[in-house]
């Protein structure tokens, strides 16, 4: 088990957002679905130490990381591709990628290898290593964000809405790459574009109102009438 979350509760102020979430990720690719406000981003923030758990446990690679600072979580081997990308706009692509690896012990000494992998995954980045990230399109920035996360040679890669703001063609491309990646690294991905992401995952959870409403294999989810009506309605 790489990530094991049990009975996790947290919230903001007096508002409880997660009401006891159980979720685990092994060496696999896991999807996390649900409407806006269901608590997906809160769950990710809690894993990453940006949000303190009120109760419950978050275990990563056998260690309790609940409540640890974000940078320590990141150094322990979880890489996040946040919804808002959170890149360094005034720095070059190369620097953004470099920073992905610079502070993570797991990536020490193998930066070159990781960089090769990233540019192989997103060839367009190779041409643009010197370009400032702030001047790139949303889709390209999304690639940089994924690339930056991969540079850390993570044990677990978390992607929060990787297709947000992307044109459909690029969405397809991103998920193709993710499908390739799942052999290398455990993945947890939240996505509104359920149909596309089902191709890239092994298993999925549906989160509703702060609790897991459904857990099934990708194939099972695709057939589930609730999922079809809510997310695959068209």
């Amino acid at each position: 088990m790489i990530l094991d979350i049990q009975k996790l509760e947290t919230g903001y102020g007096k508002l409880k957002v997660l009401l006891g979430v159980d979720l685990h990720v092994g060496k696999e690719s896991v999807g996390l679905f649900g409407p806006n406000g269901a608590g997906k981003t809160t769950l990710i923030n809690t894993i990453m130490g940006m949000q303190r758990p009120w109760s419950g446990t978050v275990k990563f690679d056998g260690q309790d990381i609940g409540g640890k600072s974000t940078h320590l979580v990141a150094r322990s081997g979880i890489a996040l591709v946040p919804q808002e990308r959170e890149l360094f706009p005034g720095m070059s692509v190369a620097d953004n990628l470099e920073l992905g690896a610079a502070w993570v012990p797991r990536a020490a000494g193998i930066e070159k290898r990781q960089l090769d992998m990233v540019v192989q995954l997103f060839p367009i980045l190779k041409e643009r290593l010197k370009q400032y990230v702030g001047t790139m399109s949303g889709g390209q920035q999304r690639m940089v964000a994924i690339g930056r996360a991969l540079m850390a040679n993570p044990l677990l890669l978390i992607l929060d809405e990787p297709s947000l703001g992307l044109q459909p063609s690029i969405v397809a491309e991103v998920f193709e790459r993710l499908a390739l990646l799942k052999k290398e690294v455990a993945i947890l991905v939240t996505e509104q574009n359920v149909r596309e992401s089902l191709k890239a995952i092994d298993r999925g959870y549906v989160l509703e109102n702060g609790a897991v409403a459904l857990e099934d294999s990708a194939a099972g989810l695709a057939k589930n009438p609730h999922v079809v009506s809510a997310y695959l309605g068209i």
């Binding site: 990453m48 940006m50 600072s69 974000t70 940078h71 320590l72 990141a74 150094r75 890489a79 996040l80 946040p82 990308r85 959170e86 890149l87 360094f88 706009p89 005034g90 720095m91 620097d95 470099e98 920073l99 992905g100 610079a102 502070w103 993570v104 930056r148 850390a152």
Partner: protein, 307 residues
């Protein structure tokens, strides 16, 4: 890109103006340059703190004052030249700044910026007044022969010592540029300045970087304190005008634009000297600074609204 074009036009215009003035009154350029160096070297560390830690440090000049006092007493006790004290002063001020940061500013990092402003204002008062109690309001000055160094060209004599400030300003700007773009820790600092959340995500200890950057800025301020002492008298309130000047220069340059501070200082230093060069405009030299600030900021805001 637009920035670069603007910078080029500005550079060309100022080059032309410079040549004109050089022909007419060369000392204006000579003095303006040196004054600009002083302004820039003091303002750059403030720009660093504002750009990365996002704190307007109203105790900026006061830290320089403290460094200058420390250097003064060290030099008087040991007979050392303040130039030799530049590095120790930097180290001591950095350590002092780090402690002040940990005790106070760190706790206010997430507070509204106004609270930070008043906090550093309180620090400024406390530092000034503590020095006043210890050493009174009297001025101290080291007297050093090399400060009066000059070069004769034809009939004219040009003082040159203050080019040491120009050298430091350039050293600071270039050094910081290299540090922030070439070293891992520097890149981390830049990353924290641009996006603290993104920095934490890649494993950077944001609070530590804030502390380090603050200490680094204070090291630069401390070195300037020692250097300032070579030329100027010191007294408890000597730092506060430089806080305000630095703040304004940083704003004119644009937050996070450290090389821009060089340009802004140059513009200010030379235009001040030009006004002081004429009998009728002498008294108005002070105003040019503030008029420039307003012009630049309003000009920039109009541009923003357009895009």
């Amino acid at each position: 890109m637009a920035l670069k074009r603007r910078a080029t036009i500005l550079a060309a215009l100022s080059a032309a103006a410079t040549i004109l003035i050089l022909l007419w009154k060369p000392s204006v350029i000579n003095n303006g340059l040196q004054q600009a160096g002083l302004y820039a070297a003091i303002a750059i560390p403030m720009g660093l703190v504002l750009g990365i830690v996002h704190i307007v440090n109203l105790a900026h000049g006061e830290f320089m004052m403290v460094a200058a006092y420390a250097t003064y007493f060290a030099c008087r006790a040991t007979g050392m030249d303040p130039l030799l004290a530049v590095l120790p002063a930097a180290a001591v001020t950095a350590a002092f700044g780090w402690v002040v940061f940990q005790l106070t500013i760190k706790r206010a990092l997430k507070a509204p910026e106004l609270n930070q402003l008043i906090l550093t204002f309180g620090i400024a008062i406390a530092l000034t007044q503590a020095v006043n109690i210890l050493f009174t309001s009297q001025t101290f000055k080291l007297q050093l022969d090399y400060v009066s160094a000059s070069i004769d060209i034809g009939e004219d004599t040009f003082p040159v010592w203050s080019y040491v400030f120009v050298a430091f300003a350039i050293l600071y700007a270039v050094g910081l540029k290299l540090f922030l773009t070439r070293t891992t820790i520097g890149k981390a600092a830049l990353a924290v300045g641009q996006n603290p959340k993104g920095a934490a995500i890649v494993g950077i200890d944001v609070n530590r970087v804030y502390g380090l950057v603050f200490a680094l800025a204070l090291a630069l301020v401390g070195a300037m304190g020692a250097l300032f002492l070579t030329k100027q008298s010191i007294f408890p309130s000597v730092g506060s005008p430089y806080t305000m000047k630095s703040f304004c220069l940083v704003a004119v340059a644009g937050i996070g634009n450290i090389p821009g501070i060089l340009g802004a200082s140059l513009l200010l230093g030379i235009s001040e000297q030009v006004l002081r060069g004429f009998r009728d405009t002498r008294a108005w030299a002070d105003i040019v600074f503030f008029v420039l600030i307003i012009a630049v900021i309003l000009g920039r805001s109009i541009k923003w609204r357009k895009s």
